[in-house]
């Protein structure tokens, strides 16, 4: 890994074959089409959410890794940039818990939805 990192990262920048970008471009198109189909076909429940999140993460991963060249950057930079946003997931968990409590109290004190 370290070896390939340094060969790709020559002093004049990131050199990769154009074909790689075209393949990723095509994959992003296909994944977006899949996401859209999930909604178009009206898939519901847990299957809907696992599919949407799966396609989302694959797309985000391809963009960051290839288009933004993160796959070839030094690990120090990769960790410095990718770890902090991951911690946002804790914030998400806190807010989900908070929102569930809020709606519970709203329903308990103000009754069901109008």
């Amino acid at each position: 890994m370290a070896r390939s990192e340094t060969t790709a990262q020559t002093p004049s920048g990131q050199h990769h074959p154009i074909r790689l970008y075209l393949v990723v471009w095509g994959l992003l198109f296909v994944l977006s089409a899949f996401s859209y189909m999930v909604d178009y076909l009206g898939i519901q429940g847990y299957l809907r959410w696992s599919l949407i999140l799966l396609f989302m993460m694959l797309k985000a991963g391809l963009i960051v890794a290839v288009f933004m060249h993160m796959a070839w950057e030094r690990l120090a930079l990769v960790y410095a940039i990718l770890l902090p946003p991951l911690l946002v997931l804790i914030f998400v968990a806190l807010m989900v818990s908070e929102s569930n409590y809020t709606i519970l109290t709203r329903l308990a004190f103000f009754g069901a939805a109008p």
């Binding site: 890994m1 370290a2 990192e5 340094t6 990262q9 002093p11 004049s12 920048g13 990131q14 050199h15 990769h16 970008y21 075209l22 990723v24 471009w25 992003l28 198109f29 977006s32 996401s35 859209y36 999930v38 909604d39 178009y40 949407i52 999140l53 396609f55 989302m56 985000a60 963009i63 960051v64 290839v66 288009f67 933004m68 060249h69 950057e73 030094r74 690990l75 120090a76 930079l77 960790y79 410095a80 940039i81 902090p84 946003p85 946002v88 914030f91 998400v92 807010m95 989900v96 908070e98 929102s99 569930n100 809020t102 709606i103 709203r106 329903l107 103000f110 069901a112 939805a113 109008p114």
Partner: protein, 239 residues
């Protein structure tokens, strides 16, 4: 510039993996050995932007989960009436494909930049800017349509009042990013076209000769705009 990086610390001589990360951060030198300051700082800026967009989406999630009022169904709200029937989310799908294509052309522009093919680089950047402008145009159309249907930051005809504020805040902030990106693209494309990076002509982003990395740094910003849209598409339009 790169010379000094190489002599200070040959990345090949440093350990790989986590050991390398520890060595880089504890080396009493710049931590991001192979990424120039320009690139590292663009990444740090994008990290800060990630937190802003993250907070917007989190606030939207909190509002949506905690309200007892039914949330408007995005699949129907963003449907377009085409050929006598409602096609769900069609405009959003087209916008997504346009933005992804702009990311594709941008990635290729960066590649041709490093190969010093100025014509192709500038042309691909202009194409990227054009696709970006098309995206903003479609967003303006979408906003106009929703506003004419009575969506406001404080109310809308279909349900939870918070829908409007979340929609205008999130898509508006993203649209602003795209607009700034289009301007940024045009500025850098002009520099490439005129050969500023060859002559070392002084100016914003062009202080050193042969430094086509400026195109890559610009590209990082543009791909980030596409990246944010991936999350907005999933969380706002598909939820």
């Amino acid at each position: 510039m790169t010379q000094s990086v190489q002599t200070h610390s040959d990345p090949d001589l440093r350990p790989a993996g986590l050991r390398g990360v520890a060595a880089d951060f504890g080396s009493d030198q710049r931590a991001f050995k192979t990424a120039s300051w320009g690139k590292a700082m663009m990444w740090v800026f994008l990290l800060s932007d990630t937190f802003i967009f993250g907070c917007f989406l989190l606030a939207y999630m909190t509002a949506r989960i905690s309200t007892p009022v039914a949330w408007p169904n995005p699949s129907e709200v963003f449907a377009l009436h085409i050929g006598g029937q409602d096609v769900p989310l069609i405009l959003i799908a087209i916008m997504t494909f346009v933005l992804i294509s702009s990311s594709g052309t941008m990635a290729m522009a960066v590649n041709f930049g490093y190969r010093r093919e100025r014509g192709k680089t500038a042309a691909l950047m202009l194409l990227t800017a054009l696709l970006g402008a098309a995206f903003v145009g479609m967003q303006a159309f979408e906003w106009t349509k929703l506003i004419s249907e009575g969506v406001r930051p404080w109310e809308n005809p279909w349900g939870a009042a918070q829908f409007g504020s979340a929609f205008f805040m999130i898509t508006g902030f993203h649209g602003t990013h795209v607009t700034i990106g289009v301007i940024f693209l045009l500025v850098v494309a002009r520099k490439v076209w005129r050969g500023d990076f060859e002559t070392g002509r002084r100016g914003f982003f062009t202080s050193r000769k042969g430094r086509y990395e400026a195109v890559e740094i610009m590209g990082l910003y543009w791909h980030f705009v596409d990246l944010v849209w991936v999350f907005i598409f999933a969380f706002f339009y598909l939820w």
